[in-house]
Subunit: 530 residues, 2 copies
């Protein structure tokens, strides 16, 4: 809970407007993971989706009911259709069915849209807005009203734009969010309009900005200067066309530069993590140059800058990077030295003999040059150290494997793996099928190990990611596979890399199982001693 009251309501629409970005498609389970992370961050509102527009969003609200949220989960929807009864509107019905206590309703402010898109009379649009808000309020919902195209509407006919907002206020909307839907507004004009609208409406205002003119962040700040205290945006600025106002820039600007509390104490330091988490779940490469949270945001490349930074950290940084959970770096080379290896070995309690550190630094470098990345695969790193330490015995060793897959004339697909392993003194030769070549390999490996290690059954493969390094070599490019495994209690990550995607998968798969078995035998040894 916040220690002092928050001064700005942060309204996150990553899960609704963010998914309008070309290239994003979130599964329902992805949306729930992101919502939980946003909830932990402490935003005031999380817009979960538009339940009337697609079944996936309706499912989200159904599954969200079982979770205890600190934030308000909001459902998005449109005002009722023209010329129909508000009680018969399926979109409004879907809002009620979502179970969300707060509904965000959008309506038209711009006469052009009313005439040319809705094709209704201006007074019917006002009724659509007012009646829809009343309907939701009567059903016990709180209503946030998104005044779509408010700024374009104001320029075309300020009087009418205000009338639409007043209709929402009369209906009982608690905040009127002025939207720069087309994203072309400029800050000083937007600020004037927010100020003027605030003076006439005398009602709480919010802002929803898009980045089509490159000013979404500045526009959001300008609206706050003019009195808005409800700020909509998305993590990483995801959104339709050029995106929405990026909360990862807006929130630190508001907190660190305007001195307005937006998040609970200490939450700002989570921001870099949250930005990366959301990119990871959305499977988009993070924008490394993003203000505040990008990996390069406090990276200094120019020799002059790096030298100056050593004399005065303020000299080339506008804020202290730790405030947003980021860090300062000199871009020269990030190559690991012996210190990294020694620290890592201490972390894992691995005793290395003399000279092993140098040898391991070399091995890490060689592996990374072939496409491995150890920073995201702690278990593979630990295995690398353990294999070099005295007394470690690998539970199995691969002799050979072969995978066959394809599609027959009948259309039937098949995938089969044949595997030969040395397990202790034995050689095990077996085969298994799967619905793809990697699941066939996984099945064969488990089948080969089960007699000697029945505990392999408790190790599950829980995530599988593939990245192509330097895609410009086409199908011959190096493939990096990251696998997450779990035994129900712990979760660990392993890595493999090869130009052959199945070899890369094999390497990560085998590390994942080996690590799981080694951990279990270490636990058993400890239990036997105690």
């Amino acid at each position: 809970m916040p220690d002092a009251p928050l001064e700005v309501d942060v309204y996150d629409t990553t899960l609704r407007d963010g998914t309008q970005r070309e290239g994003i498609s979130l599964a329902c389970s992805d949306k729930l993971r992101i919502a939980r992370r946003l909830d932990a961050l402490g935003v005031a509102y999380i817009e979960g989706g538009w339940p009337g527009s697609n079944p996936k969003d309706a499912e989200f609200f159904a599954r969200a009911r079982d979770v205890a949220w600190s934030a308000e989960l909001t459902a998005f929807g449109a005002t009722r259709r023209a010329g129909s009864d508000v009680g018969d509107d399926p979109s409004l019905r879907a809002l009620l069915d979502s179970g969300a206590r707060v509904c965000t309703l959008f309506g038209k402010s711009w006469d052009l849209h009313v005439r040319e898109v809705l094709r209704v009379r201006p007074d019917e649009n006002l009724r659509m807005i007012e009646e829809s808000v009343i309907f939701l309020r009567a059903a016990g919902r709180r209503v946030i009203y998104d005044a779509e195209h408010f700024f374009d509407g104001w320029e075309a006919d300020a009087g009418y734009a205000l009338e639409t907002a007043r209709a929402a206020v009369r209906g009982g909307a608690e905040v009127i969010v002025l939207c720069d839907t087309n994203g072309g507004a400029l800050p000083w004009r937007l600020e004037e309009i927010v100020r003027a609208a605030g003076a006439r409406l005398e009602h709480p205002l919010g802002i929803h900005a898009h980045d089509d003119g490159g000013c979404a962040v500045a526009n959001t700040l300008a609206a706050v200067r003019a009195g808005a205290r409800h700020v909509q945006g998305t993590i990483n600025g995801y959104g339709e066309r050029c995106g929405n106002a990026n909360l990862c820039a807006v929130v630190p600007d508001l907190e660190l530069k305007l001195g307005l509390r937006c998040l609970p104490d200490g939450a700002l330091r989570e921001l870099t993590d949250v930005a990366h988490f959301v990119a990871e779940v959305a499977n988009l490469p993070p924008d490394e140059h993003m203000p505040y949270v990008g990996r390069s945001a406090f990276a200094h490349k120019g020799g002059v800058h790096v030298a100056a930074m050593r004399r005065s950290p303020r000299s080339y940084q506008h804020v202290e990077p730790a405030l947003v959970g980021n860090r300062s770096r000199a871009v020269v080379s990030e190559l690991s030295g012996r210190a990294n290896i020694l620290t890592k070995a201490e972390e894992h309690g691995v005793a290395l003999d003399h000279g092993a550190d140098r040898e391991l630094v070399e091995r890490v470098k060689q592996h990374e040059a072939r496409g491995f990345s150890f920073e995201a695969a702690e278990a593979s790193t630990e295995l690398l150290l353990r294999r070099r330490a005295a007394g470690y015995r690998a539970p199995f060793r691969l002799v050979e494997y072969r995978v066959m897959t394809g599609r027959r004339d009948s259309g039937q697909e098949f995938a089969e793996a044949v595997i030969k392993l040395a397990v202790g003194e034995q050689v095990v030769h077996t085969a298994a099928e799967g619905n793809g070549p990697v699941s066939a390999l996984d099945a064969a490996l488990r089948k080969a190990l089960a007699p000697a290690f029945p505990e392999v059954a408790s190790i599950q493969l829980v995530d599988y990611k593939v990245r192509i390094l330097d895609g410009r070599d086409g199908t011959s490019a190096t493939t990096r596979v990251l696998i997450d495994s779990s035994d129900g209690a712990r979760r660990w990550s392993t890595v493999g890399a090869s130009p052959n995607i199945l070899e890369a998968s094999w390497l990560a798969l085998a590390d994942g199982i080996e690590y799981g078995l080694a951990m279990k035998s270490a636990a058993q040894a400890r239990a036997a001693l105690s």
Copy 2:
């Protein structure tokens, strides 16, 4: 040549400040190619580099001498070192040696930097500035003065910051460029400072903004509002840390929204091409969501938006995309309705018969539910439409395929594909090897098609991306493969999805080749008719 005088001097520093971005490294020949493209665009100044800092930049100026430039090529450098004679300074000497007629000299405005970084007395810094400008002017050079950290300097000691600018004016600098070097300024404060500095200096001012607070574009516009008429920035916003002000947003904002002429007549329409050209030469993926010039900048994904766009093009676009050489697109996805399919068919000139649109919307939804994503795969979308249109004949049909891969006891890896295709009346059965299963499939497909379609040799696979959908199903999760192909002139994207990664790869691979062959035969048919 411009038809009317330009009102703002556009100063491009892509080749100097842009290359400070982490991840950019331009060869001298790359820099020359970019400079020529910028020159054709019509910017006033092209900053070629910092000849005193590295030999590559010195080489650039040597090679640039043989080219006839319309723009002024400028060389960047620092004021003389502390306590030394201006005539002995190697950095100033390098500026003269570059042969550039215009030199951009940067000096310190912020007392913190003078004390802690330069470690000189404030009056010595003033002498360093004035003497360095006088030295270059005496050698017949025009001088632009970059007042580094001017805004931070102003906040710390406005009087001293002004003194440094006056020293440059006294020396003979023709314009004083106020730099927000750390990128943390906010527009309204920056505007006040530019206005105040302008009133005191009564000398032409410029602006140089960075994006650390997410306000570089707005800050640049704010400075112009306050009287600056010289604007520094980079193409695509490349630059140290979070980047410089993005000229691809600043210039259209100035021309289309502030009504200030920045480029010769018609040049604005080149902007999208220039942005992509520079990304291509820098070997960076273009930011598809960039204002104005991004591929998604005018892409409409939500069904509501696309339907509205068909009724009124202004409804969801802040400017006409053709003004900056971009275009509007409907994105086909699960969020699409019939409007998206109809718009797409019109874009590609595909005539659909009655009812086909509904059927295709269904087909898109079914495919997307299986893991396909058409929004990133325009060529697969087009094939989906064409296959439903009258008169389309696919160049080949898969009968069956089989892939074998693995690692032998010897450690030797292998990958082999066997493929059977129907090509016209013939059935072709062949096999090929690769260094992984996908490259083996690719090789076998080409081998099977080469006798009937020798032009397949010109189609290259140029990028290959894999993404696991809902990775929590582990190795049984659906795999989505995106492939980019090229025939040297055009580039297109295709998609495949399946729980079997090789089946997904096959689908994307086959679409990529089919699309390439269909485009070539269409081009031949047009040529034969004309």
